[in-house]
């Protein structure tokens, strides 16, 4: 166990990479789907081993600490459940001829490369390496978003590509500025890009340079988080790509970009003279939340609806981390975890609903609880959870975010509550027309896999009812690390 544990970081990277190579060569899509599930399960096991093994010492390129373990275990868990969902999803897509086996080979290989890139971004101790990993993740998702090759899908992929590239460009400029700030203190070469060294010596950096760098990094990686003025790619990419990719985008990739922002926030807080990164993040978070909450009312496409809900929740999370302090950070972490689980669960449900109905238009979907009890009620549960109603985990994390900010900035907390209520109204309104009332649209059966979504919703419910003490202790430790 201990030998396995020591090599776990390498395994988390090696398994997806190896699987990608195998999947690129496997011609049979049913076998490939199973290999995909198996590889994701192995990655999940390796990630869980990270929890129990003592963390290996950081190198110039890789780092493992409490913060990224949270992200890695979450992303490999959702990566695994999504691969299970994907196996049943693509079966239907093949049957109706939307995808061909050749495309699936490509799709499966890309899926594993995406997992690899996300784990690499999370494990990277080098800000340049982190940038490269996030770029790879972007490229793979761009290709998967465009995989249906309809006019809309290509346009969505193109828009994602261009906006994502601009974001990645700005982030690189910020990364270069951090290097320029570090170089006089740490010296030329790789050392000035190693995150652990940067944080240790950040106090001596030129604060003005760090400020400008952080603005670029926040805007650049913020584009990938989907923060409000820069979110334009997100709804299209979610709506036009295959649903498993929507689930991974919302549940994981947004988190990875957020993780990058958090790392640089820690760097900023380590320098007392630099501007506090909190207020910037709080502002962007609130704008995203309120903007997305209003936009929810005008959605006519079911996947777009939940894409806007992701923008809303990323806003809440960025707000919480921007407020900072042990309680708000704890709430932010919990909210991030709950949102990933719930939102990907919702996309699993929505994916099957769209397959049953043959459309994503909300107007053509109705009365699901009568015609498809399982899917309908799963959606009801998912929407209740994502809207932040008790007894689900999101209620608790939103409550913590609100109460921790009420104590320190009552006005901001009021704005936050306002945004939450607006979003709640929109979601309940839409849910009503989708799940209840006269059945509309097709009523054919579809082979669906309920296990992944049940697992997600059960976890969210369980955490909403009872937070286990070890989890609390773990998240508190990470929250303290975030400062």
């Amino acid at each position: 166990m201990s030998a396995f544990g020591a090599n776990a970081p390498a395994l988390v990277l090696a398994i997806p990479l190896l699987a990608a190579a195998i999947l690129a060569l496997l011609p049979r899509y049913r076998v490939a789907a199973l290999v995909n599930v198996g590889a994701s399960l192995l990655t999940l096991l390796a990630a869980l081993a990270l929890l129990f093994a003592p963390p290996p010492p950081s190198t110039a390129y890789l780092l493992l600490d409490e913060l990224n373990i949270v992200f890695i275990s979450l992303s490999s868990f959702v990566g695994f459940t999504t691969s299970v969902f994907s196996a049943s999803y693509i079966g239907h897509e093949i049957d109706i001829g939307r995808l061909t086996p050749a495309y699936l080979r490509f799709y499966h290989a890309m899926y594993q490369i995406l997992m690899f890139a996300m784990n690499l971004a999370l494990l990277a101790n080098n800000i340049g390496l982190m940038w490269v990993a996030i770029e790879i993740a972007t490229l793979t998702t761009v290709m998967m978003v465009g995989i249906y090759r309809t006019h809309e899908a290509l346009e969505a992929a193109w828009k994602y590509f261009i906006l994502g590239s601009v974001g990645i460009g700005l982030a690189l400029f910020g990364t270069i500025l951090v290097y320029v700030a570090a170089e006089p203190v740490i010296g030329e070469g790789v050392g000035s890009m190693v995150w652990t060294q940067l944080v240790a010596k950040a106090a001596a950096f030129d604060p003005a340079l760090l400020n400008v760098a952080f603005v670029f990094l926040l805007l650049g990686y913020g584009t990938k988080v989907g923060l409000a003025p820069l979110h334009a790619w997100l709804p299209d990419a979610h709506a036009e790509g295959p649903t498993p990719i929507s689930a991974v985008l919302s549940g994981l990739l947004l988190n990875v970009a957020l993780y990058a922002v958090l790392r640089f926030k820690m760097l900023m807080t380590a320098n007392a003279a630099a501007v506090a990164p909190g207020p910037l993040m709080v502002t962007l978070g609130l704008i995203s939340l309120i903007f997305a909450a209003f936009m929810l009312y005008r959605r006519r496409d079911i996947k777009r609806l939940f894409a806007y809900s992701s923008i809303e929740h990323m806003g809440i999370i960025v707000f919480a981390f921007g407020m900072g302090g042990p309680l708000a950070n704890f709430a932010g972490l919990l909210h991030m975890t709950m949102h990933s689980l719930t939102k990907s669960g919702i996309f699993f449900t929505v994916g099957h609903i769209a397959q049953v109905k043959g459309t994503q238009r909300i107007a053509e979907i109705g009365g699901l609880t009568e015609t498809h009890a399982w899917l309908g009620w799963s959606l009801v549960i998912g929407v209740i959870a994502i809207a932040g109603l008790p007894p689900f985990g999101i209620f608790m994390s939103e409550f913590l975010v609100v109460s921790s900010s009420f104590a320190r900035a009552p006005l901001l907390a009021l704005l936050l509550v306002f945004g939450l209520l607006i979003a709640l109204g929109a979601l309940i309104l839409r849910l009503n027309s989708i799940a209840f009332g006269e059945p509309r649209g097709e009523t054919a059966r579809v082979k669906a896999s309920y296990a992944p979504l049940i697992a997600h919703f059960a976890l969210v419910l369980a955490i909403g009812l009872y937070l286990p003490a070890p989890l609390v202790a773990w998240f508190q430790q990470v929250a303290a690390l975030l400062g």
């Binding site: 390496l129 940038w131 490229l139 809309e152 590239s165 460009g169 340079l209 334009a232």
Partner: protein, 220 residues
């Protein structure tokens, strides 16, 4: 010698900004591509000069990539794509050229004010390079925002990326510069292949999502 080293790098980096301005007022796609090739040549010279004065041989590789790939291969293939796909030869702009130029001047001023103020501690060459690089990046963004057609947006992105390479080479001893410029080249190659395979002629005219949603996606 130090004076000369500084003056030449100043000249080359400033030249890149001037060529970025030339990109702003091109009205025909072919001439836009020619000016972009010039942009890449200036970048290659600037990078090679940095390689020489910093005594960093790996930067010559970055300069060679800029020269071969960005100044020759990419403009040529875009030329052929425009011919094959029969894309409009004229560039549609969102706002008038005069206004774009004025905004561009404002952006360059902004870049100078911001970067020169915050980089007081850095050495002069890096300082100048960073300020000019930010100007090139912002002008690239401006081109992307004010152009409607996919090829000219890509040219805007590539000029933005040239600005980033300039910044990376200006930062003394920065690792991964060559890797980053290779990564960008791959990215650009993908974009160009994407244009060709998917025959993307026009793009969504705005970054404003509200307008976009009305035009497409949710209309169906």
């Amino acid at each position: 010698m130090p004076h000369l080293a500084f003056d030449i790098s100043h000249l080359l980096a400033g030249g890149l900004v001037v060529v970025s301005f030339m990109l702003l007022y091109q009205e025909r796609l072919y001439s836009l591509l020619n000016v972009y090739a010039l942009h890449a040549v200036v970048l290659a010279l600037a990078v090679a000069w940095q390689a020489y004065i910093q005594d960093a041989p790996h930067l010559y590789v970055a300069a060679a990539i800029a020269l071969c790939f960005k100044a020759i291969v990419i403009p040529l293939s875009l030329h052929r794509i425009i011919e094959r796909l029969g894309i409009h030869r004229e560039i549609e702009t969102v706002v008038g050229i005069g206004l774009t130029m004025l905004v561009g001047i404002g952006l360059v001023a902004l870049a100078m004010v911001v970067m020169l103020r915050v980089t007081g501690g850095a050495e002069p060459i890096a300082r100048e390079d960073l300020a000019f690089a930010l100007a090139v990046v912002l002008l690239g963004l401006l081109i992307m925002v004010t152009r409607r057609n996919a090829v000219s947006q890509v040219v805007g992105f590539m000029s933005l990326e040239n600005g980033l390479v300039l910044a990376a080479t200006g930062a003394r001893g920065m690792p991964l510069v060559v890797e980053i410029s290779v990564a960008f080249s791959i990215l650009i190659a993908f974009i160009v292949i994407g244009i060709f395979l998917f025959r993307i002629r026009e793009r969504f005219d705005t970054v404003d999502i509200v307008a976009l949603d009305q035009f497409r996606g949710e209309r169906r």
